[in-house]
Symmetry: C2
Subunit: 226 residues, 2 copies
DNA sequence: CCAAAAGTGTTAGGCTTACACCCATGC
DNA sequence: GCATGGGTGTAAGCCTAACACTTTTGG
């Protein structure tokens, strides 16, 4: 009864670049699937929480510090790793463009367009697909777009995030009204200067803007004592 | 690097009785939390899928065979078990009233009202709370109510499910129109007889009615080869 | 002045809500 | 017939989509 499966943590990371969704992958340096691209991750340490492990591995392998991090799913099919039973708790994360810049491509880390990935190790293609589906879902029902943006942003930038993720253009007028009526963002009073047109107002999210994760979030905030 | 946490699977089960949500719990027969009520579950066997484990443990401990079974969340906080690191993959399930009848209370299994549970073992109170939140969420956006019903049902029964879970009464006329317009149910042509009022029509879900789980479901159907 | 993007106004149509009303059965 | 719940009709109001229009900047 004490023969437990190996327990791993991996993370799907999304960032927005040129109105496209991109995701960083790491090259596997050992068998199985040596030299194939895979999600960043690693084994769960005995004295480390799952989300903490995800964040740490992310930082170690890609230098990224996400603005949003949420559990995606736990994958545990028996055949998913050729080298024995592995159960993977997978997280998904959003990073801002400026953070993504800091993690430039090198021999072991490379960014790919999220909808045009190569053949990945294990069942990681399927996992990214599911993460994409979840992102699109969440975008429609919550203010998750915040995770892609800085502290302040214009309505056009916010709209750009929605358009990129949903893959459709949105009416600027209606988008403005809907998002302002929602009450989750407020104008800072500042404006962008230097563009060759009318300067757009800057906005920021109100403090109360938390992505809806239900009862988990409240406890998660107190649990994180890293 | 090979010292992995213990991996368990547990399940939150919901059934509808007297327009209330009920959930069965099992009595712990060993330490820690001996004699406390807890979610049914057990360790993951090396050669068994996670969902399969959940279904098997469910049947073994409560004699229940759910009509719906979905992964809820993976709980892995370091302090959640006093007897060492345990990571629990938790599922949630729906059973029909007639199935629930078969699993009567005994010394080791007892049904509780889902919104009035005693103090459970481990972090199981928190887990049930989250499962309740997920159920209510899913009820609003999908045809998950099917899981509580038999093959055929009246619109009043379907409405009763929604009312019980949402905790509010619904306009029968509007409910009828909305659910029929959705196209996921069709009349069987039969009617209930024997009630002291106009006999209601029976309906059933169309074959195409699958609860929206995104890209996971398609593969899940092929993976399940039990 | 002109181009371009910000921001406002307005209208049509769809969906939700509320509630009045009719229908079919057992007693 | 009458009480009860099944089932239909309908109008008000809200939300959304579409698009015309005005505003403000740099060149």
């Amino acid at each position: 009864m004490d023969e437990h499966p190996s327990l791993a943590v991996s993370t799907v990371i999304f960032a927005l670049r040129d109105s496209e969704l991109w995701t960083p992958l790491v090259r596997r340096i050992r068998q199985p699937y040596q030299d194939r691209w895979a999600l960043p991750g690693g084994w769960v340490a005995p004295q480390e929480g799952l989300e903490t492990t995800a964040a740490r591995k992310l930082l170690e392998t890609t230098q990224l510090d996400p603005t949003y991090l949420e559990q995606l799913y736990c994958f545990g099919d028996i055949g998913r790793s050729p080298s024995g039973r592995v159960v993977s708790v997978v997280y998904w994360a959003l990073v801002r463009p400026d953070q993504a810049e800091r993690s430039s491509d090198d021999d072991n880390v490379r960014w790919f367009r999220a909808d045009a990935l190569p053949g990945l190790a294990f069942d990681h293609n399927r996992i990214v697909e599911y993460a994409l589906w979840r992102l699109r879902n969440k975008m429609a029902h919550s203010s998750i777009a915040h995770g892609f943006l800085g502290e302040t942003f214009t309505l056009a930038e916010l709209r750009g995030v929605h358009e990129a993720v949903r893959g459709a253009t949105l009416d600027p007028a209606n988008f403005r009204r809907q998002v302002l009526a929602g009450g989750s963002i407020v104008p800072t009073g500042e404006h962008v200067v230097g563009a060759s047109h009318r300067p757009p107002a800057l906005y920021r999210y109100t403090d109360a803007t938390l992505v809806d994760q239900g009862p988990l979030l409240a406890s998660a905030l107190t649990d994180r004592e890293d």
